[in-house]
């Protein structure tokens, strides 16, 4: 019997990847949810309890989020030629009219914190300017202030006339899974301490500013359990953890490090998704992501990169089928087939593994369905694929685009073509101080399956999928791109170094 997942019609994807990875929860939203979990476990960060569980009670910060994102009139009032007192009065009226009722009955504390209304308005504008997705048309309750510190964190919510709920629209538990992965990684607890130290400093000016707006934290009513992650360990968890540890050790402002943490988490989660797909589908070859480095001229690597993208896109569907099919190999399945009532017994086996047919259906109903084991497997495969298409199946496409790994630039087809932001994150993650360019490429291949140059793609050349020249040109294009980003220093034609601009000790930029 596998772990029961609540709130689903059947559990297939969940047992492969966990409950759940969600396409619309982009990497930055994943990190924000992750930070909510971490903020609630600040005394024992990145550690599961004895039962392997993580619980948390997220902040909701009604006042802060309303002031920032449900307060569109503040600038207009500031521009009016009214006395300061009149501005406050007018703003109060507008704000109360729009308020959700959870903020505070009396917002007058703001007036005593700011010297005048204009200062208050300026601070709101400043905080908004650094918010995520500031210009998106998402509902205001799904907009987030930059995670300046512990007081700036809150969960995604939905406000209706009936009240408030966390509808898991954008915080769909991917952040919880990320938290569990890091709990289970080697070195997780140490990373937890560093994260708390760097990101949960209450005394940074920006956090203090946020606290002025919010006042005392507002929390959810109850504790809740973190999601379900089937694996107790996985090399990808360890990779993620050591990458994060490396990023946090670089000599850069922690708010900048955050950007790299987000992109790096996106990449590692994507690889987890693909690798698990492969494992379940019984494919032991390592993941391969053939990257075209976009240059002015069309390159032969583009087609290959597009194919590599398509192959990886299909992986998770293969995993779904393989996972369901694998039930046929189980001993209990063979027993069920040999039993007096194979229809019902097979349905029971299916139910035990996939929560489908529903565990609440009794034998008579199962019998009445009159479905053979094969038919059940077939049927579940169909509905599982259908459901997989809606969200899980989109993860590869959405996340790879979100982290800048895939693109349709200069082409109608999507392929892997890393953008500058991702390249920077890769350098910050991989390069301690400096590294020879070919070594860097080898690391990218080993750590993330990224294939750029001819020596990483030697097998492709051997299989006549591409000629060596095209790949070495691709490699040269990457080198030129990194030179342009100030990340590669050329010593001579034959030798160049990738350099991390944020080496710890006082070296010149």
């Amino acid at each position: 019997m596998t772990q029961k997942i609540d709130g689903v019609d059947f559990a297939v994807d969940e047992h492969i990847w966990g409950h759940r990875l969600y396409d619309e929860q982009l990497p930055h939203l994943t990190i924000l949810e992750f930070l909510c979990v971490l903020g609630s476990n600040i005394d024992s960060p990145l550690q599961e309890d004895a039962d392997g569980r993580v619980q948390y009670k997220p902040q909701r910060q009604y006042r802060l989020r309303s002031l920032l994102f449900n307060n569109p009139f503040v600038e207009a009032i500031r521009a009016k030629s009214l006395s300061d007192a009149d501005k406050w009065t007018m703003w109060n009226e507008y704000f109360s009219a729009e308020a959700t009722g959870f903020e505070a009955s009396d917002m007058s504390y703001l007036r005593s914190s700011f010297a005048n209304f204009d200062d208050f308005s300026k601070v709101i504008t400043l905080l908004r300017s650094s918010a995520f997705e500031v210009h998106s048309n998402k509902r205001w309750s799904s907009k987030f202030v930059f995670p300046f510190g512990p007081d700036a964190l809150y969960e995604d919510l939905r406000f209706t006339s009936k009240g408030v709920s966390n509808d898991r629209r954008f915080f769909a538990r991917t952040g919880e899974l990320l938290y569990l992965m890091l709990c289970r990684a080697k070195g997780g607890a140490d990373l937890g301490k560093v994260l708390v130290e760097r990101l949960f400093d209450r005394e940074t000016p920006m956090n203090r500013l946020v606290r002025v707006l919010q006042g005392e934290p507002q929390l959810a009513d109850t504790f809740r359990d973190g999601g379900y992650l089937p694996l107790a360990e996985h090399p990808r968890f360890d990779r993620l953890c050591s990458d994060w540890t490396a990023i946090l050790s670089r000599d850069m402002p922690v708010y900048d490090a955050l950007e790299h943490l987000i992109t790096n988490a996106g990449l590692n989660l994507l690889l987890y998704f693909l690798e698990r797909g492969k494992e379940v589908a019984g494919d032991s070859e390592p993941i391969e992501i053939i990257c075209e480095v976009v240059s002015y001229e069309r390159t032969k690597v583009r087609a290959l990169s597009g194919e590599s993208y398509q192959a990886n896109q299909a992986l998770s569907f293969r995993a779904i089928r393989a996972n369901i099919e694998s039930v046929r190999l189980k001993e209990e399945w063979l027993k069920a087939l040999a039993s007096d009532d194979p229809h019902v017994e097979c349905a029971r086996v299916m139910s035990a593994h996939f929560q489908w047919p529903s565990t609440t259906i009794d034998d008579d109903e199962l019998d009445a369905m009159q479905k053979t084991g094969d038919e059940l497997v077939q049927e579940l495969t169909e509905i599982a694929e259908l459901r997989h298409k809606q969200h899980f199946g989109k993860i590869h496409a959405t996340w790879s685009r979100a982290i800048g790994l895939s693109s349709r630039r200069l082409s109608r087809r999507t392929r892997y073509a890393p953008n500058d932001r991702l390249l920077k994150t890769l350098v910050v993650s991989v390069v301690e101080d400096r590294m020879q360019f070919d070594e860097f490429l080898r690391e990218l291949r080993t750590r993330y399956g990224l294939v750029v140059g001819d020596s990483e793609g030697a097998h492709l050349v051997k299989d006549k999928l591409v000629d060596q020249e095209a790949l070495s040109e691709n490699r040269a294009n990457l080198e030129a791109r990194l030179v342009g980003l100030g990340l590669v220093r050329r010593l001579s034609d034959s030798c160049s170094f990738v350099e991390n601009p944020f080496i710890s000790k006082g070296e010149a930029v």
């Binding site: 500013l209 402002p253 601009p501 006082g506």
Partner: protein, 629 residues
């Protein structure tokens, strides 16, 4: 294009300097690049029976001194293709008493007994050793002599940078260890650490600079074989030999200096921008300057081809100022050479200023410009106001019908490019109406070189330069069009450093270092470039340093002047953002330090917003927020 091959040459008598010119031509950028190899040059000299082109090799002297002094340890000769690794090795071999025959043998590793009893092991090119056992053996000797205390042997190994590092890494991996020599050698290449004591590293790639160019020019233009030209028919009866003319311009320039000096400036600026110009490229450049001609076979003249050129009257196609940029060569071939790529980056010929273009377009007709035109253009009948240029100019100005068609003016524009190049190299220094750096993509390169000279001589730097840099920095830091140059705002957006606009002033420092705080411009001895040194707090902290390459300098100056061409913004912007991030990190660390004055202030938080006045002057306006405790 007329093909003037030797076989088609009308006059059969061999010109007196033909052998020398043919020898010089082999240094030029020919398609087969024969001159790439030391071995070839040795043979070619014998064939041509001319004295070799001799360049001083100060490094060779030092290598020899090291061997002669009996200092234990080994010698690593590093460099790119064309730096003269083999030349240095061969010369050292000869100095140590090795024979030419043995050197020409096929064995890549050669041994020699030194007079002091030590064995000298020569590896003339590490990449020539394909046998792993041999390669490992060489690296073993290197390790033993440098780290293992072996005083009986000295290894002299020539290699390019990548090769030695890769082999050491590979060997280390096979031996399951990190090779102890790899990091020190890498650091030495990158100037990031001291050299290992018992290993002398001669990095030939680091030596090409202004004086290398001057030396090459001197050696070629001053070569004794030119003396033979005195008897040459091609120069009799008022004939102009483009080869001799170009050579003369180099020599003349030697005295008058503007041509060679300005070319030297370009080489220096390129060097500081990170271009590495091997000596072989400089030889190719100078050979091309002298022999280049659009209509000649492979773009390079021989003595025999000159007669035909003289008949057709296209002397000006051998324009030395165009040859500098490889305009006589097919674009692809020019692009193959590092030196032409580096020089192309200046955009000389494409970039221009209103003044110089006014002069070139209207100068012949405009009475106000006439004097300057006579002085600066018309005076040069060969490459300046040539008949074809004047005709194209008239044609363009008179607005003939075809000049108004698309591409109709292309011939004139092409000639205009040529004239701009000439003007860049020939404009006198003291010509305020026509500043020559304005005709390049590096308008502030003159200031850059001046700044370096000033710093090298420990003179106080030009205040306008300091203030311009400060203004540029302020604009980069804040993303606002500030005019401030008296102080630098270290500004953040609150969130990511990458945010376009940063209005929160974390701290501000004066533009001139005082009591250990503020900006200082000094010369970085490691890179030999100027650097901006920013100290946020006095005494107890290391400053944040921005190394000023010419590109970065140009970027900041252009930002300060308010005009920024898109072409070179990305790389610099990234560098600047990294610099800004480092400054913000410093500010973050400062904040974390206990501050005596702040103890009583925990109930208030002050944020400094940067506000701009009408005139662009920025100032920080504090907003104080009271915090309930």
């Amino acid at each position: 294009m007329t093909d003037c091959t030797e076989t088609k040459a009308p006059r059969s008598a061999t010109p007196p300097a033909a052998a020398w010119v043919r020898f010089l031509r082999s240094y030029g950028p020919t398609p087969n690049d024969l001159n790439l190899f030391d071995e070839y040059v040795t043979r070619a000299i014998k064939r041509a029976k001319v004295p070799p082109i001799i360049l001083a090799s100060p490094q060779l002297e030092k290598m020899w001194q090291r061997i002669e002094s009996g200092t234990p340890g080994s010698i690593l000769v590093a460099g790119t293709a064309g730096d003269g690794k083999t030349y240095h090795c061969r010369s050292l071999w000869a100095k140590c008493g090795g024979s030419t025959e043995e050197w020409s043998g096929t064995d890549p590793i050669k041994k020699l007994r030194l007079t002091d009893g030590r064995t000298a092991v020569f590896v003339k090119d590490l990449s020539e050793i394909s046998d792993q056992v041999q390669s490992d053996e060489a690296l073993k000797i290197l390790e033993q002599t440098v780290l293992g205390g072996d005083d009986s042997t000295v290894l002299i190994v020539a290699t390019n940078h990548g090769q030695i590092l890769e082999r050491l890494r590979d060997l280390g991996e096979r031996q399951s260890r990190i090779h102890p020599l790899r990091k020190p050698i890498q650091d030495a290449f990158l100037l990031a650490g001291p050299y290992p004591e018992r290993l002398a590293i001669f990095d030939l790639s680091r030596t090409a600079r202004r004086h290398s160019l001057e030396e090459v020019i001197g050696a070629i233009a001053g070569h004794p074989e030119w003396g033979k030209c005195a008897e040459c028919q091609r120069r009799s009866g008022g004939n102009i030999c483009p080869i001799f003319e170009n050579k003369e311009r180099l020599i003349a320039a030697d005295n008058n200096s503007s041509f060679v000096k300005r070319l030297g400036d370009l080489v220096e600026v390129s060097r500081h921008n990170g271009w590495h110009l091997p000596v072989r490229d400089l030889l190719a450049l100078v050979a091309n300057m002298v022999l280049g001609h659009k209509d000649a076979k492979e773009g390079l003249l021989t003595c025999h081809a000159v007669a035909k050129i003289q008949e057709t009257g296209n002397i000006e196609h051998g324009n030395i100022y165009d040859n500098v940029f490889g305009k006589n060569l097919p674009r692809r071939r020019a692009n193959d050479k590092q030196v032409f790529r580096a020089l192309a980056a200046f955009g000389i010929g494409e970039e221009t200023s209103n003044g110089s273009d006014g002069l070139l377009v209207y100068g012949a007709d405009d009475s106000k410009l006439l004097d300057a035109f006579e002085r600066l253009v018309k005076i040069d009948q060969i490459y300046g106001a040539t008949d074809s240029f004047l005709a194209a100019q008239t044609h363009y100005l008179e607005g003939n019908e075809d000049a108004r068609l698309d591409e109709g003016a292309s011939e004139f524009l092409h000639l205009l490019g040529t004239q701009r190049r000439r003007l860049f190299f020939t404009l006198p220094e003291n010509e305020p109406d026509y500043p020559f750096w304005e005709m390049t993509a590096f308008r502030f390169a003159g200031d850059y070189l001046e700044l370096m000279a000033t710093l090298a001589e420990s003179r106080p730097i030009d205040e306008t330069v300091r203030l311009r840099l400060a203004k540029g920095l302020n604009r980069v830091m804040t993303g606002l069009l500030l005019e401030n140059s008296d102080r630098i705002f270290i500004a953040s957006s609150g969130g990511f450093t990458q945010s376009r606009i940063s209005v929160l002033c974390d701290t501000e420092v004066p533009t001139r270092r005082s009591r250990g705080v503020g900006m200082k411009i000094c010369l970085d001895p490691r890179t030999e470039r100027p650097s901006i040194d920013m100290a946020l707090g006095a005494f107890f902290d290391e400053p944040v340093v921005l190394n000023l390459t010419p590109v970065r300098f140009e970027f900041l100056c252009r930002v300060a002047e308010g005009s920024l061409p898109g072409s070179f913004s990305n790389e610099c912007l990234e560098d600047m953002l990294a610099f800004k991030a480092k400054l913000l990190r410093k500010a973050e660390l400062f904040r974390a330090m206990p501050d005596d004055d702040d103890v009583g202030d925990v109930e208030a938080l002050t944020l400094d917003f940067i506000e701009i006045e009408q005139n662009g002057h920025g100032f920080s306006l504090p907003i104080t927020v009271r915090i309930k405790t």
